[in-house]
């Protein structure tokens, strides 16, 4: 009887300690903050992702883990593991309306896969209406690959077969959320067929490669293409993705997801930048001509400093956009910074022009 009592005490103590340790604390890694700031996604030291309400952090709930296929040990075969067992931090993207969360998970060898979560209908107060469940019962990644394979008349089993060194390529990654949260832009790419190792050595070769940009439509629950994506996919398959000009974006770049009903061609960021740059040159010259000698030198120094700031802004813009097309995104950042600079200089020019 005494032993049972001690055991019960110990058990209670153990459970209490576990709960204490399970509260959000500084060791949990903040992955993302929801657009309205209502909650954060945090990763705990045991790999689980928690939804932590900003107002009541103790009301946290767990984002359910799912089974994913990985090859993290460079082996020639794949294995299925729980998504929360992956060592690297997942990357989480919350839709603008906060009804969807896309989680990109490392699957080894530089590859990633994705899990889409949907917010369950609100039931009661507290943390209950914060629950999210996987959006697809058969696996979001499989559904995405099924769509791409159908388009390319392939079977998924032919995509991403590892070679004897465990090198493989089958990746699904985030592109962007549309402003209306109705479309999630994804990129899927990988090798097709069995690998062949050349007799003379060197890297393995596969039959072909596949790459496609697709949308997941959250309103219809189906994958789809628009003319914008078809054009980008066509540019990619024609091998026009590489650009040597540092001010030219990738031809297959898609930087934003189209809202439903607002489908349009991808605007050219290169043209946008060139236009802004020409306007800046024009405005700068006009302003320079209106200044005294000392002021001219000051403006010239300021412009040199601004050029460095523009490039840093563009790098930050590209980094924080998480675009699969960093060059195009960087040029977009340069265009945005230049447009702001034009507005600034025009403001300074106006009083001079008026006088």
């Amino acid at each position: 009887m005494k032993c049972r009592f001690i055991a019960a005490i110990l058990f209670t103590f153990g459970v209490t300690l576990t709960n204490l340790a399970a509260k959000p604390d500084s060791s949990n890694f903040a992955l993302v903050t929801a657009p309205a700031g209502d909650f954060q996604l945090m990763r705990t030291s045991n790999g689980a992702i928690w939804l932590v309400p900003t107002k009541n952090p103790t009301d946290h709930v767990v984002l359910p883990a799912v089974q994913i296929e990985v090859n993290t040990e460079a082996a020639s075969s794949m294995k299925r593991v729980s998504s929360d067992s992956v060592e690297r931090q997942p990357e989480c993207f919350v839709s603008p309306d906060e009804r969807w969360i896309f989680v990109e998970v490392d699957t080894g060898g530089g590859n990633t896969t994705g899990i889409l979560y949907q917010r369950t209908p609100a039931s009661s107060g507290g943390s209950a209406n914060l629950r999210y469940e996987p959006a697809s019962s058969k696996g979001f990644d499989h559904a995405a690959w099924e769509f791409v394979c159908k388009d390319h008349k392939l079977t998924e089993s032919k995509i991403g077969i590892p070679d004897k060194n465990g090198i493989w390529s089958k990746t699904l990654y985030f592109g962007a959320w549309s402003a209306d949260s109705a479309r999630l832009l994804l990129g899927l790419g990988g090798t097709v067929g069995k690998p062949k190792t050349p007799e003379e050595g060197g890297p393995s070769q596969w039959e072909s490669n596949v790459f496609e940009l697709v949308y997941f439509n959250t309103q219809t629950g189906a994958f789809e293409l628009t003319d914008r994506l078809r054009k980008a996919n066509s540019a990619q398959s024609n091998g026009n993705s590489g650009q040597s000009d540092q001010h030219a974006a990738e031809a297959d770049a898609v930087l934003s997801a189209e809202s439903v009903g607002q489908e349009s061609p991808e605007p050219s960021v290169t043209d946008r930048f060139k236009k802004a740059d020409a306007e800046l040159n024009d405005t700068y010259k006009k302003l320079l001509n209106s200044l005294s000698s000392n002021e001219k030198t000051q403006l010239q120094n300021e412009e040199r400093a601004w050029l460095a700031e523009r490039d840093i802004f563009a790098t930050i813009h590209s980094s924080q956009s998480w675009s699969p097309f960093p060059n195009a995104s960087r040029i977009e950042g340069m265009a945005i910074a230049t447009e702001k600079r034009v507005a600034e200089l025009q403001k300074r020019l106006s009083p001079n022009a008026n006088s």
Binding site: C3, R4, I6, A7, A8, I9, L10, F11, F13, G14, V15, T16, L17, T18, L20, A21, A22, D25, S26, S27, N28, A30, L31, V32, T33, A34, P35, T44, S45, N46, R88, Q89, E91, C92, F93, V94, S95, P96, E98, D106, G110, W177, A308, D311, I312, T315, I316, H317, S319, Q320, S321, W322, P326, N327
Partner: protein, 242 residues
């Protein structure tokens, strides 16, 4: 049954204690950095994929250097950047203009950041295979970077004439020169307050060769005027003369 209850309780306790311990693990060597311009609902790339080593912090605790983590390190070079940052407000102040950025776990990589006592100047060394690879001098004023000097390029410009003399028949240029440590304890470049950089650099064209050509540069860089105020290049004929 009693034994089983006790065992279950004991295991629970051990698991709870282990979990509690791992939850409070802290990274002693790195600090948190949150990047600017985070998109609503998107992760902060600088928080997730950059490391901020505490040994890069300025004496006033306001500035530091961030490097890409292993995940970014596995990506193509175009995605890799090294930044000088400020902490409050959280800003990216400058990017190091390097073709071989440092990143977590880089093979033959490494870095050294030396700050002046007043935190107005940072001397950043990026390591390479045989020794230091590049040197950057960062000058700060009013929370902004007022000037970034690629000291490595300036050093190579000084060495260029000597190199041309010894390599007359070669089409190589000074970018083929490799810095080579004499001993890992002696830095090539050292700050003298916030005013000067003392340089004592050994270079070679072939660190592994039997008959490499070696030179030594002893110089002083005047930070304020951004120029060398003292310089001496000595040709060393073989390893023994180092």
């Amino acid at each position: 049954m009693k034994k089983l209850s006790t065992l279950v309780a004991f295991i629970s306790l051990v698991i709870a204690l282990a979990h509690a311990a791992s939850s409070f693990e802290s990274t002693d060597d790195t600090a948190d950095f949150h990047g600017p311009d985070v998109r609503p609902g998107y992760p902060d790339l600088f928080h997730i994929h950059f490391v901020f080593p505490k040994d890069t912090l300025s004496p006033n605790g306001k500035y530091g250097v961030i490097f890409p983590d292993r995940t970014l390190g596995e990506m193509e070079n175009d995605s890799l950047h090294n930044f000088v940052v400020s902490l409050d407000p959280s800003q990216i102040l400058a990017e190091l203009d390097t073709e071989s950025p440092e990143f977590e776990g880089k093979s033959h990589g490494g870095y050294e950041v030396e700050w002046s006592e007043d935190s107005s100047v940072a001397l950043i060394t990026l390591e390479a295979k045989w020794g230091p690879g590049e040197f950057f001098l960062i000058e700060l004023q009013d929370g902004k970077v007022s000037r970034t000097t690629n000291l490595d390029k300036k050093i190579r410009q000084l060495l260029e004439p000597e190199y041309r003399k010894t390599h007359a028949a070669s089409s190589s240029d000074s970018s083929d020169l490799i810095y080579e440590y004499q001993d890992s304890e002696t830095p090539f470049c050292k700050l003298e307050n916030a005013t000067r950089v003392k340089i004592d650099a050994y270079v070679t064209n072939d660190p592994k060769g039997d008959n490499p050509r070696r030179s030594r540069l002893q110089a002083t860089w005047d930070i304020r005027n951004a120029k060398f105020i003292q310089q001496r290049v000595t040709r060393l004929s073989n390893r023994q003369e180092k």
